[in-house]
Symmetry: C2
Subunit: 356 residues, 2 copies
Amino acid sequence: MYAVILAGGKGERFWPLSRRDKPKQFLSLLGNRTMLQMTVDKLQGLLTPANIYVITERIYLELVRKQLPELPLENIICEYCGRDTAAAVGLAAAYIQHRDPEGIMIVLPADHFIADIEEFQRIIQVAVRSADSGEYVVTIGIRPSRPETGYGYIQQGEAVENLEGINVHKTIAFHEKPDLQTAVDYITQGSYLWNSGMFVWRVDLLLGLIARYLPELNRGVALISEAIGTEREAEVIRNVYEKLPRVSIDYGIMEKCEQVLVIPAAFGWDDVGSWTALGRYRESDPQGNILESRGVFVDTHECMVYAPQRVVATLGVEGLIIVDNQDSLLICSKDRVQEIKKVVEALKEAGYRDIV
Amino acid sequence: MYAVILAGGKGERFWPLSRRDKPKQFLSLLGNRTMLQMTVDKLQGLLTPANIYVITERIYLELVRKQLPELPLENIICEYCGRDTAAAVGLAAAYIQHRDPEGIMIVLPADHFIADIEEFQRIIQVAVRSADSGEYVVTIGIRPSRPETGYGYIQQGEAVENLEGINVHKTIAFHEKPDLQTAVDYITQGSYLWNSGMFVWRVDLLLGLIARYLPELNRGVALISEAIGTEREAEVIRNVYEKLPRVSIDYGIMEKCEQVLVIPAAFGWDDVGSWTALGRYRESDPQGNILESRGVFVDTHECMVYAPQRVVATLGVEGLIIVDNQDSLLICSKDRVQEIKKVVEALKEAGYRDIV
């Protein structure tokens, strides 16, 4: 049983706090521990550090080493360049197969929040049991608490087994991020779950599915697999990886494969995908403001101010995200936080590469 | 003929750019020269530096010396503490009387903007001729271009003389800042002028008016007058000044005195009283933004961003004043700029004395 933590994301929606050289998963957005550290923390008791892998871009290797000193160095797998989740998972699978051809992989994003760790571990254990036969990919679906348009959805089918009181269902379909009306319909309908990006499978099953649905990726993974443990390992990965197809695991495999099960779960999950999402985990003042800044906030409502190094004064403003980070400053309407990525793109194009 | 520039203001409405130790008159808000320097500049050709006085608080002495190196040091008069304009003018009058008992004083605020300097000098010369007999206080009234509620108004009466094609009028009344409806009525009525805070009078007339309307101030000025030129001078001013009544020249004398004339003028005057006022003198982008900052401004309208040391990104915001000054940051709705003083007060009360 192995965990593979996907830590290659860019997290641009947290600009200017997140930067190209220190994205969201390496930030302490929810307390003292970084999102990556919290992800490892929630595996405590379930897995030893020797069985936890982190896959990340080459430029983040030092950050991962510093933040997770307990991990064996060989468990940090470098992508060299971003090639989306199917390639990352394929690369990790090559390593795990080498060590344990029938090992079970638990794939977890590095930058999500889970409130109830005990329940999370209970669900993971059921998923592992369900995946143990090597017949099924098991996904974790989150029971939705609001008509969220920022997540993908999994449509659950009939229950196929019950393990320790937890139902495991067939999957009818994966759905991309819906518009609001569709999201409301999903919630009303009752059998739609949020796609958490957490998957459990036997490594041999996964590699079989890659061979079937993503032949180009399969050839690359095979080349890497042959080189693992040899002196050509780093060189081969570097050469092969950048030529791999850029496709997500959802689009590349999940949406096509029929051997997918889903476990509906409710352990307080959040992808903490934006500044407003973060607001759900901070205490607000009586005017609905979340203030991580010294200063005065006159007639200010529903704002988030993150400026720990400065004194801030606001007067007569509402619904703003204000984030200060030494050399840069973001002022954004709360209903536009999903577009911060565009701002980062615009900054790059305008030549401000040193601050993104 | 002597100019007295009143440079003791606190200019809090320009926080965080203005600070207690460097208020508005010492800032370069409109180009390379500071407001104080621009005020001296516009007297060029009319007066030599030896005849220009600056009256300011003790803590700004060094700033004035640095910004106006051409002025004789003895022409910088220190107030020791702020006691409003009547006391400042009285103190300056004591010095000028000592040098020239029938000298004409031209009183000018240090922090206003004048566009047409040639016309300004023409008006001042007429005011000086009109004040020369020692019978009248001559004020400069600005023909209003909008129903401004931030200025006081002067109601003009019949013309009493015409000098070089310029009418000099009797004054019917001084009016405090009006509400909007009253301001609209003033504009419609046509005989109301903005009170520019510029006055011309003979020093002996002014001292006579102080004796008549402000007896307490008169006693203080008399004590100071006796001490000027002696070794007790600094000590007497220090002791006397802080006990002087705190009253404006408008309220203390102008509103009561009947010997007041007004010259209607139109030389592009502005008190540059707020961040939005400043916007009238900056070029805006097609979205109505005034941007003194590097960065990207996505879907941003009618904002003013002043942050020369940072990269700023705005997204989906409108009508905001955003000002950054190293250790502090202001985000203010444009229609609330008049309340920035309150913010500064609140910051003081909250203990942020080092940044106001």
